[in-house]
Symmetry: C2
Subunit: 406 residues, 2 copies
């Protein structure tokens, strides 16, 4: 039931990247659940990870390895998050890296491990280690679609984005895949996103580009307000498209690169929301006219997290009173409510803190019945604005999260 | 499906209080939706109201009237909140007071109006004014149960609490009713609560007692994190049980009175949670070992509002990973996660930030299957603690809020 994600777009291979996927039987038989991604020698990798204080073992290990060496390989399993598993979880994540390093002929700390799935259960190491050679043997440049499937948990569709553009006089490719549908309120990162390019970009420029893009993309989405323990987003540049290296932010082509990375991150982040657990709607929330960025975020996220607004969205009910009630509890001054306007797409439903005089419910109803719509709040106080993306709250959200793990 | 609210307890009449209830046909025919409460001359009234900047017309009018005179009468309708109705909403609320004042032979500003129900629609003034005389004629000291029914919206059962105790050598009565099931995250007040006593207490002492009791009761509950536009809680003392007046906080009987008011407020507040929309569980969340009260509240409310924890509660799934993930995103220092312990009732499920060594899932499962349970988080950082009450998130919550108004 993903909203507006009818078909995975063409995922262009990226020179210097190979992907292999297999079924390791981690939580279900015969489903793809183990992915390895190989990076060509000399590739640079940038990463952002969850800021949840309770972070998973693979996140701890990946951070350590990344601090030491540029990675040559990633290994990702779904079905088990290896989170809340203490010291043995860390040993398990390291053991997977060890096994893969022997197959790949590289160092263990040149491998980054990622896990997603159920929290608090021991990683089934023997199943994973036994299946690693199958995944390794499957490595091929066209393995994107299988890999996008192999990292899914409650996702209903594989998700990826790909584009090609001119950089330094050559056509470069940017291809990424992502997983995530619930426990989505990324904080400096999101679920798992792996984005690659054959452009030549230095490590530090790559990290700056990723951090900047994440703020405008993965950090602007929420499905249910819950932050995962395993969030990670990687941007890897193989440099195989050997134009001149972008090694400074002053490089005239940096802004082209940054724009494209941001665009791909936004589309991937929005794909997570579109495939949000139980989602029947893709909702953009814009807040403008605020005095501060904090106030913008407070209003926007309070609307996005309000169970009453989310169930009204599910019911296609233009219940402006619920939206206004959320704005009213978001810390705005009492007399500021009289400056508030609210729009559903272009239909003004609230003006000066009350129902707009010329508003007819049929107009709001029409917008609410769309699969995709925008709620815009104008606070009338200042000139700060923001934009985030979210979903509705449906029976299926409850079903998925009440039945998951049981 | 209210949890543990099998039967309304006996509601003792309070000398000096009469209640009348009727069907005005506000949103449905033949359901009680209009209540008047008469206070004997000389009664004192204390009140707390919603802090939502978007507050309803009756709240504005009630605040004004209360600032001028001690009220002689309350008028409460359900089915329509008269919120987001602008200037005409205020005139409507005043008009209801006018009509009732003519029947009662008092001043219009000796009447406090209260409304609850759908936001953003005009109050059906003619229906209400036409039915007021029936409600007025129904005034009687034993009208508590009808009144408790007459203020309900999505509540499934009428809710009230009553007790008698010794004060100043006499037996005094404290009886209250409450409504509320959704849009429940009171902020200095709750939905509608009307508490009365025949004790003799001065206005200022009454207000202090109410404010103090509300902090420990109505301000410690949450169903869905949404704050109503119409919240109000009143404590009225008729003084008909004419012992000496408690007119100072130093009075030796003040603490007895405060304890009883707090106890009644707690039971009424908990009744709202027990009857929370779609609730199948009544959950106490305790946080201790925090460095600050803010940290306590942050952890407790984040757990109470997490859709993932709430759906796990609905599924009776002892999913400690979800709870720990919420604690992890609540602003505790990264290394503090290793001091965290989590208990379901007396079963320790998490110790030192990971699954407790001796924990067996069957133990957690057993607690989770109870209708009532306690989640306790020990942060191991300091000596601050808190306690709040909440519910799970069920299919019925979505159903109620997706279908309400349609």
């Amino acid at each position: 039931m993903a909203v507006g994600l009818d078909k995975l777009p063409e995922l262009h291979p990226v020179d210097g990247i190979r992907l292999g996927t297999t079924c390791a039987g981690i939580s279900q038989p015969d489903r793809r659940d183990l992915v390895v991604i190989e990076l060509a020698e000399g590739a640079h990798t940038a990463a952002v990870f969850t800021r949840n204080a309770f972070c998973a073992a693979p996140v701890i290990v990946a951070r350590q390895h990344l601090n030491k060496k540029m990675p040559r390989m990633l290994v990702i399993n779904t079905g088990n998050a290896n989170a809340g598993t203490g010291a043995s979880g860390i040993l398990d994540a390291a053991s997977v890296c060890d096994s893969l390093s022997r197959l790949a002929g590289c160092q263990s700390d040149e491998i980054l491990p990622f896990s997603t799935g159920v929290i608090g259960e021991a990683l089934p190491i023997s199943e994973i280690n036994a299946a690693l050679s199958k995944a390794y043997d499957d490595l091929n440049p066209a393995g994107w679609i299988d890999a996008a499937s192999g990292i899914m948990t409650t996702d209903t569709v594989p998700k990826g984005v790909s584009c090609q553009f001119e950089l330094k006089g050559r056509t470069v490719t940017l291809t990424g895949i992502v997983k995530g549908a619930g426990m989505i309120r990324p904080d400096m990162a999101t679920m798992l996103a792996f984005i690659t390019t054959d452009a030549a970009v230095s490590s530090s420029v790559l990290q700056t580009a990723l951090s900047s893009a994440v703020i405008k993309s993965f950090n602007r989405i929420t499905v249910d307000g819950d932050t995962s323990t395993n969030d990670a987003c990687l941007l890897m540049a193989t440099g195989k498209c050997s134009g001149a290296v972008i090694d400074t932010l002053d490089d005239e082509d940096y802004s082209i690169f940054l724009d494209k990375v941001t665009e791909v991150c936004k589309l991937l982040a929005q794909a997570i929301v579109r495939d949000g657990e139980g989602a029947t709607k893709f909702v953009t929330i814009k807040v403008n006219g605020a005095e501060s960025a904090t106030m913008c975020d407070q209003v926007a996220y309070n609307i996005a997290h309000s169970p009453l607004v989310k169930t009204a969205l599910f019911a296609s009910d233009p219940n402006w009173g619920r939206i206004l009630a959320v704005v009213g509890r978001s810390g705005i001054p009492v007399d500021a409510i009289e400056q508030v306007s609210i729009f559903l797409d272009n239909v003004c439903i609230v003006r000066n803190g009350g129902k707009a005089d010329d508003y007819q419910e049929a107009q709001g109803q029409k917008v609410m019945q769309q699969d995709e719509l925008c709620i815009r709040v104008d606070l009338g106080q200042g000139d700060r604005s923001t934009e985030i993306w979210t979903t509705d709250l449906s029976y299926d959200y409850v079903k998925i999260n009440a039945e998951y793990r049981t």
